[in-house]
Symmetry: none
Subunit: 401 residues, 2 copies
């Protein structure tokens, strides 16, 4: 609810601290055999104890039935209406690897892929080739200039790269070249609006250049592009909520997204344990911390029910360390559900827990979908979570006489 029109009138600057722990893909659905979800199957002594002293509920990221990507899922939790505010995949990837995007740039997410002799895709990720093989290919593709537009190729990880277009008069209204499944030909880039013709043509030239240059590679013999996007203007998270926010996330996309919202992205390691130590080390320097936990989503995406259970148990083990810091408000939320049963993001409501000095006696017995549904917070749009966090932190004063 960054758009609540009187937010500036009711936000207070205080010393209280909020930690928003986002467990990516947190929610699930019951296993067919046991009838218990991943959260219900996991042994979560610390999260359950926390839930007993918290106000619990469920969040709806976008709308019932709408499955969000990580971008909209996170934007919603930060209070940005994910239908009004959008961030393209290319922009997210670019920011995530530290590219200093300029307004007007167009970024696209690129995948090396494998095509057969007939040109049809046989592997959309080129066997997830190791970075040691893909980075030199990126270097070879880099630094092309077409019609006054400079194109650069930035390696991300394994088969993933970012294509960046910089120059005058670019548009991001260009169609994807990734057909989205094997057995199909890469698609030609097309202008989706009249002003995008030149951009589409430049992208087409890049695609042909890549086809020529990659020909003969054993795996990465072609590349596909999607998520053409430009920087959009998003309200500053810190200004809107009157906070000094910090983001702690090992994964590039979440770093990019929070940077775009104006959060200070703290240097951290590649594990959640390192993230938590970063939180501890920087705890006095900020009054809001976004802390990202990825493994539950990764296991869910793989359809690995047991793996997701273990990932949740591993998260649980870090809860005491976070509570030791005594944040005034600790929120545990998810950007979306990733049920192992679906092996994908889903539309299901996501467990939520808000812990503060005001929540004693309102708790739920456990932290899972079923218990949270009966919780004190009920089911609410994810966009309202920040208002609750601020209220519990004593950072919102009364609205109206």
């Amino acid at each position: 609810m960054i758009d609540f029109p009187y937010l500036a009138d009711i936000t207070l600057k205080t010393d209280s601290r909020i930690v928003l722990l986002v467990a990516d893909g947190l929610g699930g659905v019951p296993h067919r055999d046991t009838g218990r979800s991943e959260l219900e199957s996991a042994h979560l002594p610390n999260l359950d104890a926390l839930a007993q002293e918290s106000a619990c509920g469920l969040t709806i990221p976008v709308l019932p039935g709408i499955t969000p990507g990580s971008g909209p899922g996170h934007l919603a939790l930060f209070g940005y209406d994910p239908v009004k505010y959008q961030i393209g995949r290319g922009v997210l990837e670019a920011l995530g690897i530290g590219i200093a995007l300029q307004h007007g740039d167009v970024a696209a997410r690129g995948n090396f892929c494998t095509v057969g002799p007939d040109g049809r895709l046989t592997d959309r990720r080129a066997g997830r080739i190791p970075s040691s093989e893909s980075a030199p290919l990126c270097a070879a593709l880099d630094k092309l200039t077409v019609e006054g537009i400079s194109l650069s190729v930035h390696h991300v990880k394994e088969h993933r790269f970012v294509l960046l277009l910089r120059g005058e008069g670019l548009s991001d209204r260009v169609s994807e070249t990734d057909p989205g499944r094997t057995g199909e030909l890469p698609l030609p880039p097309k202008a989706l609006e009249p002003g995008a013709g030149r951009t589409a043509k430049v992208v087409g030239t890049f695609v042909e250049h890549a086809r020529e240059l990659l020909r003969g590679q054993p795996k990465a013999n072609m590349a596909v592009l999607r998520g053409f996007s430009q920087l959009s203007q998003l309200p500053s998270f810190g200004s809107a909520y009157r906070l000094e926010p910090a983001a702690i996330a090992a994964y590039s996309m979440y770093r990019g997204l929070t940077q775009l919202l104006g959060m200070q992205v703290l240097p951290t390691g590649s594990t959640f344990g390192e993230e938590v130590e970063t939180l501890a080390a920087q705890f006095s320097a900020h009054d809001f911390f976004y802390l990202h936990y990825k493994p539950a989503d990764a296991a869910g995406e793989d359809g690995d029910f047991e793996g997701k259970v273990r990932a949740l148990e591993q998260l649980d083990a870090f809860i005491p360390r976070i509570r030791e810091l005594k944040p005034d408000v600790l929120v545990v939320a998810g950007d979306h559900a990733t049920p192992a049963l679906l092996a994908a993001h889903s539309w299901h409501p996501v467990p939520l827990l808000v812990h503060s000095r005001w929540t004693k006696g309102q708790g739920s017995a456990a932290f899972n979908e079923r218990a949270c549904r009966q919780g004190a917070l009920g089911t609410l749009p994810a966009t309202q979570v920040m208002l609750l966090a601020l209220a519990h932190a004593g950072k919102l004063t009364k609205y109206g006489p």
Copy 2:
């Protein structure tokens, strides 16, 4: 939902009667020792019995996390979006004491206060001086004319008064002079928009006049002003819902607010017992009654848990007398929560009960936050309560073919 666009098409004129009993500050949070809220701690045989035959739920006055003042809290219950429709504090106070406000008038809430030798506030309420002392001070300050603007001072109660400005070209976009806490100097009134310069200057003259006149008073040696406001245009409650509404409230602010909505404000006494007898006496003359109960909020604001429990028990004792009148629909609601633990209004959802001939078998075991959360109505925006009341009263016909 006074803005439901087809309200005029679906409202019916019938003989049925609705009583909306608003228990101010109704909701609470659990006591730290007992784990039970004020409602859960109180002995409420009549409200609990009523809840068992009613449809229960929780209302959200504005948004989760947003703490409403009494103005927005009441507007929401009457179906007015409290973000779209606003009433200034000065206007509310002025209407509450029976000032016949005209469009263009500017009203402000004034407080007598105490300042030290350095001019800084030592008591924002001048020790809540008795009306016998403050009324003569109001009379002395009254009837000033500055630059063609007539200023009048109207005593409210104890340290409170209304400053009314009447004349051409006034604006309510003037900043408050109350710094909001002791130890600070009163603030100079400033124009918040270009057209408010003259009004700010006139207010400044009044403030200096008050400073001179009050100098030497033992307690009320200065005055501060806030809530500069003008009448806004609000849709008529009676016209929108096709009702003949009456308001029964002992406290001035609620009388002022309902008058502004076009309700007939009935003369009544200063106690809830007198309010209920007014209801009984006028029961045949109207088809909608707003009945206000204040003591629960007052005790909550004082942080007096036991006092709030007693106030709720005192309300409970009047329920049989209200039911004797056999209203077709009896709604018990709150404009906001006032948990004793917070000693202030809060953002928490508020218990709601709707009783009609259609609610038997849908009841909750008791009338409190926990039971209502599981109730038949779920958790809903307070702005939707009037639609439910009208529906249960048989006053809404089918929408659409």
